[in-house]
């Protein structure tokens, strides 16, 4: 079964989950309704002919200031048929919540934690949703577009002394 047949079978089997599909440079992305993402993942994993048994990763994207603001992309790969597919869900900006797919793909566990840490996307039924890369008491979600880069002014020779005054040096 080719990848196009696989996408067709998702469309016919789960019509309320499937929104649209598009192709760019040979990769197929299927946009899915966020409420049905677990169903679609289970269908992709268990159906003969699809067998997308490996979830390579979950990426979160922030489209600020467009709405819907967040998008989650699930990269699926089928070992048996050597096909790869991307599932995309769009989430609203003020309360991004989606169901966790760790029941279907355990490999998505840490990726969802990273999406929560970096973007603030909340996952229902996740076994262990807490910060992974930032310290536990960090405030804010760093990879959002409205989070500042947090850089320090570069010291050149003309502003060396001014910047030096504000730098916290350790004395002892």
């Amino acid at each position: 079964m080719t990848i196009l047949d696989a996408v067709k079978s998702i469309e016919t089997a789960l019509p309320d989950a499937f929104e649209r599909a598009y192709e760019f440079r040979g990769d197929i992305t299927v946009v899915v309704n966020p409420a049905h993402i677990v169903e679609v993942c289970r269908y992709c994993r268990d159906t003969d002919g699809l067998r997308f048994d490996m979830c390579s990763g979950v990426t979160a994207i922030d489209y600020y200031p467009d709405e819907p603001r967040f998008a989650l992309v699930y990269h699926l790969y089928s070992m048996r048929h050597n096909m790869s597919l991307e599932l995309k869900v769009y989430l609203a900006g003020d309360e991004p919540v989606v169901d966790s797919v760790t029941g279907v793909y355990p490999s998505a566990n840490w990726f969802e934690r990273e999406a929560y840490d970096m973007f603030g996307i909340h996952f229902n039924n996740h076994p262990d949703l807490r910060r992974i890369l930032m310290p536990d008491d960090w405030e804010g979600h760093p990879l959002r577009k409205d989070y500042p880069l947090g850089y320090e002014t570069v010291q050149f020779s003309f502003n060396f002394d001014e910047v030096n005054k504000h730098k916290p040096y350790a004395k002892e």
Binding site: M134, P135, P142, Y147, P148, L149, G150, Y151, E152, V154, K167, P168, Y169, A170, K171, E172
Partner: protein
């Protein structure tokens, strides 16, 4: 001439206390394993056989801070790791020195953002900065020898 010669014939050597103490400190300065990122690989290369660091007395890299003199901060220090660095520095007994290896440890390097401490000298006082991304093993050895020169010129008044 004089008393030194006579003592030398009997097998007694006299030198100033500072010279003796500084000689002992520089010739067997044990570094602490604090390799964080890419610079750690170059530090390991400097320790390996091509650019041997054990000829300078640094045969052993001690993982325990209680047994080491020199902390080579090799690599980028993230904000999560900063309290750990300070705790390890505090656990080292005197005399202790800090060598900041690489651009990220010295000034934040190419990562000018929220996650990286812009220079290890915000957390611990640094004696020698070695630039490079990552610095070649020869640069690191030059930094260590510069530190040895500094230690050789320490005086009793600095310790008291």
């Amino acid at each position: 001439m004089g008393v030194t010669q006579k003592l030398g014939d009997m097998g007694v050597v006299t030198l100033r206390l500072e010279d003796a103490v500084n000689w002992a400190r520089t010739r067997a300065m044990w570094p602490m394993l604090f390799g964080l990122a890419c610079c750690a690989i170059e530090m390991m290369s400097a320790q390996a056989s091509n650019y041997d660091m054990s000829r300078f007395g640094m045969e052993l890299m001690r993982p325990s801070p209680r047994q080491s003199d020199l902390m080579i901060v090799a690599g980028r220090l993230s904000r999560k790791m900063a309290p750990v660095l300070r705790q390890l520095y505090d656990q080292m007994p005197e005399p202790k020195w800090v060598l900041s290896m690489g651009d990220c440890a010295s000034c934040g390097g190419i990562f000018n953002n929220y996650a990286i401490v812009q220079g290890v000298d915000e957390i611990v006082p640094v004696d020698v900065y070695v630039a490079g991304c990552p610095p070649r093993p020869e640069q690191l050895i030059h930094g260590i020898l510069t530190l040895h020169e500094r230690v050789k010129h320490e005086r009793i008044t600095d310790w008291a």
